[in-house]
Amino acid sequence: MSEHPLLTLKQVSKSFGPVNVIKDVTVSVHAGAVQVLLGENGAGKSTLIKMMAGVYQPDGGQILIDGKPVSLPSTRAAEEHGIATIHQELNLVGTMSVAENVMLGRMPKKFGLVDRKAMRRQARAAMELIGLDVDVDTPVGELGIARQQLVEIAKALSISARILILDEPTAALTRHETQSLFKVVADLRRQGVGMLFISHHLDEIAEIGDSVTVLRDGEFVAEVPASTDEDELVRLMVGRSIEDQFPRRSSAADLPAEILAVEHLSSKGKFEDISFTVRAGEVLGISGLVGAGRTELIRAIAGADRYDSGEVKVRGRRLTKGSVQAAIRAGLGHVPEDRKGQGLVLDASVNENLGYATLSSSARMGLSDFSGQRGRAEAVARTVRIRMHTIDQPVRSLSGGNQQKAVFGRWIIAASTVLLLDEPTRGVDVGAKVEIYELMNAITDAGGAIVMVSSELPEVLGMSDRILVLRDGRLAGEFSAAEATQDKVMTLAARDVDEEH
């Protein structure tokens, strides 16, 4: 290892307007080492990465490369210093081949035309760097997300990147895919590439990292070895212990009547023969790997997609298949996975977004009930504690947590009694998370029921009264809150994947 780290952010600060997003943070990336950046959403990780990538310039402090101060006024400047960022949203053109994607922007030319032979050869060499065996003529869109990520890494390396920033690369990967990504990372580490790794999966840290920098509210908290145990990492990250994170108050004491019944629900290629019931006052967690059919199941129940056979009953009455309106009338409310793409109209006001589900039902003779809606929206915004300047500001300008509270608020106005939550706290900071959990408690206290899909196991374990595990579109098992552990749930969810090894 050389004397200087490849890259150091030294006591950097950054503010946007009056808000200090990063305060006096120092972090280094060493050659042949993986530095993990850990922090809740909103802790300042992405701002920090953007400084390394030349998107933002620090207001204070220095950026050092090989010990020398530099400035990175643009992404191009960062690239010239060998810094490459692999974002969660991949920068690939799905319809173009692997070779074209790897060589995009620097295609080898012959007589002014693209030299396809040389392009394929160079692309193959790039793929060899990471040991990925794919036909370079395959359109990138036909590869799975994991392989697309590897293509992007190959592309970065072929532009002679020596500092790789991996922004939550495992968020969308199965365990098996994660393992092959880690093999590549281990390989690159041996080749002397320095890496900055961001992940929300605490269990990955010891496996992949060398050292961990923990951020909280834009401030440096600690730098600890990657072998630090998970509870300690959570404590550093959150500033409190894990028990306080999930304030579940179980209210289904005497287990009254069932509200929602799903019977033999099947949708070809998505899920098969799923049956379960949910009782009033209960939170049912649904766990499983990405691709196990969780989101598809929730969407089918909510009426967002059609299904092939089986039925959904709410309080004994059968729901019309594929009708969101029927589901809403029956008292279902759907908080979709992708808040920005499916949950909210970002340019519309908080007021309007809160009112969409009740736009027709509150109208008189086709005229929208303006003053009534405003009153309801203001009341519910207070109840769910949406932090905003005015109810007329575009919902786009709210933070992730407050946006999510607006989606919840819509269903509270609609008086929904069964909430279907898909990743309810994704991209939500820790304070707002607890508020959302309290909202869930309030709903079950009032006799409502909740079905929650989440990729964050601690959340499923912490907030559910009962847990269903899906695997490859089928029910793999069920646990009560008391008997469930991370290990048991993961083992059930990933059994087949492990057997493949």
Partner: protein, 323 residues
């Protein structure tokens, strides 16, 4: 921050925001001042009425287009549908011998029907609205020629009345005002109108919130067809005849008016007042250039530059807002 400073800050911000959100209006005022200085013919009662009559057709077409663009679509067929409606009305009167008022309603119904077909094709047929209405542009124009055999048809007295005068005020201006009020009411006060913004802003979020997105799209295109029919009838009434080539290319004027008025082609944004100002900008520029004896060839160049400028400013505005 204290309430007072927050208030002061907000007031200052709103002032800027007003200018940014009403760029077209500011442009219109500047344009009128310039023409007032440049030529004594501009600010005469006769010329202003003339502008009013000309703007009525463009604006009524553009009101219908505003619904479509707010809902995230585009309607290329409004010019053809306007011509078809006027022609159908004329045919009902002359060839089918229907009473004039019924012939008028028949023409409007034809426009509504063409619009509904557009809506069905784009909502249920899953055709992009650009393609569905491009097809309708051709079909409606073709039907107009078929019905008329390529010759103008005389309009009913009722239609001609719409092109005439009510005392000193030209009827098209009266119709324009009524159409503007109705369109604005539909968009701002009704469930369907509010839903248009949601559908255009994020159709999937609208659907998952229980809004009947497909039905709304059919209504939106139906309204655009109806407004186009009204514009077609106004145009025919002015000439006392339905012309087979009437309103050719008017869809582009309508789109330009909506866009100059501040709507986003991405959907979810747009106002009737903005569209009205946009239509006025187009018509006043043409009128002014005529008064200044600029040839129609150069007029096209100027109009094109104005559209590019208006949208360019709009893009800049969006950028500053998002940052």
């Amino acid at each position: 921050m204290s309430a007072a400073t927050l208030d002061a800050k907000r007031r200052g911000f709103d002032y800027k925001k007003f200018l940014a959100n009403n760029g077209a209006l500011v442009g219109l005022v500047v344009l009128c001042l310039a023409l007032f200085i440049a030529t004594p013919d501009f600010l005469t009662g006769r010329n202003l009425l003339n502008i009013g009559i000309q703007v009525s057709t463009v604006a009524v077409l553009a009101f219908g287009m505003t619904f479509v663009i707010v809902a995230g679509g585009i309607d290329l067929s409004v010019g053809s549908v306007a011509a078809l409606s006027a022609m159908v009305s004329g045919w009902f009167f002359v060839s089918a011998g229907l009473p004039g008022w019924l012939a008028l309603l028949g023409g409007l119904a034809a426009g509504l029907l063409a619009g509904v077909v557009n809506g069905l094709a784009s909502a249920y047929g899953k055709l992009p609205s650009f393609i569905a209405t491009l097809a309708m542009l051709s079909v409606a124009r073709g039907l107009t020629l078929v019905i008329s055999d390529g010759r103008p048809i005389k309009t009913s007295p009722e239609v001609s009345f719409l092109g005439g005068n009510l005392g000193p005020v030209p009827m098209p201006i009266v119709i324009l005002v009524i159409a503007a009020l109705v369109a604005s009411f539909l968009l701002n006060r009704t469930v369907v109108g509010r839903s248009m913004y949601a559908v255009g802003g994020n159709a999937e979020a609208a659907r998952l919130s229980g809004l009947p997105v497909k039905r709304i799209l059919v209504i939106v295109f139906g309204l655009a067809g109806l407004f186009a029919a009204l514009a077609g009838v106004l145009l025919a009434g002015r000439l006392d005849s339905a012309q087979p080539q009437a309103a050719t290319g008017y869809e582009l004027d309508a789109i330009a008016a909506v866009v100059i008025g501040g709507a986003s082609l991405a959907g979810g944004l747009g106002r009737i007042s903005g569209t009205f100002v946009g239509a006025l900008v187009l018509v006043v520029i043409r009128n002014g250039l005529n008064l200044l004896n600029v040839t129609s060839f150069w007029q096209q160049v100027v109009i094109g530059v104005v559209i590019a400028l208006a949208v360019g400013i709009d893009v800049l505005r969006r950028k500053t807002r998002s940052s």
